[in-house]
């Protein structure tokens, strides 16, 4: 699309805004947002983050907040989500979009490659705090770890050289949490291409994270009592697929012989 068409579209939208004084505020906000996006596309230097944030909030306020006073009134008093969700920071995998989560449904942690590290009060207090709050205070019923296709974090993990040299301040240290997944894939799936190995690692890493969840005593207790279910998932945005699986965890009594 040449810049002329952008400018024509922007001019037409601006005219619409100024001509139609009685345009509903929702439509007006949408037009402003669309104008801002077109301006950004036509000339990236013109993107105005302040305007983008402002118009985004106005859309939310008019189309959702004010249209659902009961829901938002209840939520203002407290939250009782059924899910604790671990999802990647990737801008393309937002669970509110891909799983249609409404406000109040899912307590969320978002980090590189949706990882759950093992219990460690020194190294991993952020994740620990979120799990602690979700399980003990909010009493969530499900913990879901969602991996995804083309994950930069997993690719980074798979790309760490054999001698373990790292070039980053944090990234490689963080993604090494799921080194067991990488080792499994590299040793068992040698015939696959690097890209296919990465896809497998995305799913294996979810299973490593599910296993790490059990290193938190209150999670373990809740799973045994069946008050929390652990689930793994993988969102493939190349093919538009979503896989969901449970972690089967049993404690069988030992026999005294």
């Amino acid at each position: 699309m040449g810049s002329q068409s952008y400018e024509e579209a922007i001019a037409a939208l601006s005219k619409l805004l100024s001509d139609k004084a009685d345009l509903g505020s929702v439509a007006a906000a949408k037009i402003k947002q669309l104008t801002a996006e077109l301006e950004a596309a036509a000339d990236p230097a013109k993107f105005d983050p302040v305007k983008r944030i402002e118009t985004g909030f106005v859309s939310f306020k008019k189309e959702k907040f004010e249209k659902n006073p009961d829901l938002y009134g209840t939520l203002a008093k407290g939250q009782s989500p059924k899910f604790l969700v671990f999802a990647c920071s990737d801008s393309r995998v937002c669970p509110s979009h891909i799983l249609d989560f409404q406000p109040g449904e899912a307590f969320m942690v978002r980090n590189i490659a949706n990882m759950v590290p093992p219990y460690d009060t020194t190294k991993y207090s952020g994740v620990g705090a979120a799990i602690e709050y979700a399980v003990m205070h909010l009493k969530v019923e499900n913990i879901v770890v969602i991996g995804h296709s083309c994950c930069g974090g997993i690719k980074g993990l798979m790309s760490i050289p054999e001698d373990g040299t790292t070039a980053s301040d944090f990234i490689e240290q963080w993604v090494s949490i799921c080194a067991p997944a990488k080792n499994k894939v590299k040793s068992e799936l040698t015939e696959l291409s690097f890209a296919e190995q990465c896809t497998n690692c995305e799913k294996e890493a979810v299973n490593v994270s599910l296993g790490n969840l059990l290193t938190y005593p209150y999670v373990r207790e809740a799973v045994v009592k069946k008050s929390v279910i652990l689930k793994g998932a993988h969102y493939d945005f190349v093919n538009g697929k979503f896989d969901l699986w449970d972690l089967d965890f049993k404690i069988t009594p030992t026999l005294a012989v």
């Binding site: 004010e66 801008s91 393309r92 937002c94 969320m108 979120a130 974090g153 301040d169 944090f170 963080w174």
Partner: protein
């Protein structure tokens, strides 16, 4: 993972049925079709006693049918590359999903979510989780904006205000929320006359500013801010009044 294998088998069986249809014995065809039906039923049955799993499947089906399948060019381009303009650090609170509150579409915002939307100071031992998100966003995605977004009735800030608390201890939560201590101390010092609820609202906002300041302890953030390639922003969503405030860190000298 049984679900994957079932899908593969069903696809294989479909191909056989189509290929062999003319020559295939009717009885054999019937058996294959029955087997396929059982497999498909088995897939649905695997979540039969789990309404929460069904909720997730339904949520994805809605997204797939109403959004993903209707915008193939958009999703094809997105699958190749993400170019978000924002790194947003938000709270894990289920009520304050930043993409919902600010109407961000997929691809617009790289997200970090933790208790109290906190950014601790640079620490390679204790804080690799947030460090890796910031590092990836700044060095690899080259985001132009980092937005720290706070909100009203934050459970993390509430806990911070309760400390020290000899009656209840946590393994992780109390140490984590102490990242916001400078904000709490500042508000208590300057606004001791205010009631607890008012103080909490102020600490929620001050904690955002504290986190913005902590961002500057990351050398790659500091360099980008000095070079003018990144702007640090703060935001506050008050869901009692339904309002959103935003502010930014100014780096130019004031006259």
């Amino acid at each position: 993972m049984a679900k994957h294998s079932a899908e593969v088998v069903i696809e294989g069986l479909k191909k056989i049925l189509i290929k062999e249809k003319e020559g295939m014995d009717e009885e054999v065809q019937g058996i294959v079709e029955m087997f396929m039906a059982e497999l498909q039923g088995g897939m649905a049955a695997s979540h039969q006693h789990d309404p929460d799993a069904q909720r997730l499947e339904r949520g994805f089906d809605f997204f797939k049918n109403k959004i993903f399948d209707k915008n193939p060019e958009f999703f094809e381009a997105l699958a190749k590359k993400q170019q978000p303009r924002f790194l947003v650090i938000g709270c894990s609170d289920s009520r304050v999903n930043p993409p919902t509150i600010l109407n961000f579409n997929l691809g617009e915002a790289f997200m970090s979510r933790n208790i109290g939307n906190m950014v601790p100071q640079f620490d390679q031992l204790r804080h690799a989780e947030i460090g890796s998100v910031i590092e990836y966003a700044v060095k690899h995605l080259e985001v132009a904006n980092i937005l720290v977004m706070g909100h009203s009735h934050c459970g993390g800030i509430e806990r911070l205000m309760e400390l020290p608390d000899p009656t209840l201890t946590h393994d992780f939560l109390d140490e984590w929320v102490k990242i916001g201590l400078p904000a709490k101390n500042k508000v208590l010092e300057q606004c001791n006359h205010l009631g607890t609820e008012e103080q909490k609202r102020l600490v929620e906002k001050e904690s955002v500013k504290n986190s913005m300041a902590n961002l500057l302890t990351y050398p790659f953030v500091r360099n980008a801010v000095v070079n003018g390639t990144i702007t640090l922003r703060g935001g506050y969503y008050n869901f009692d009044s339904g309002t959103f405030q935003q502010w930014k860190l100014c780096t130019k000298p004031m006259p």
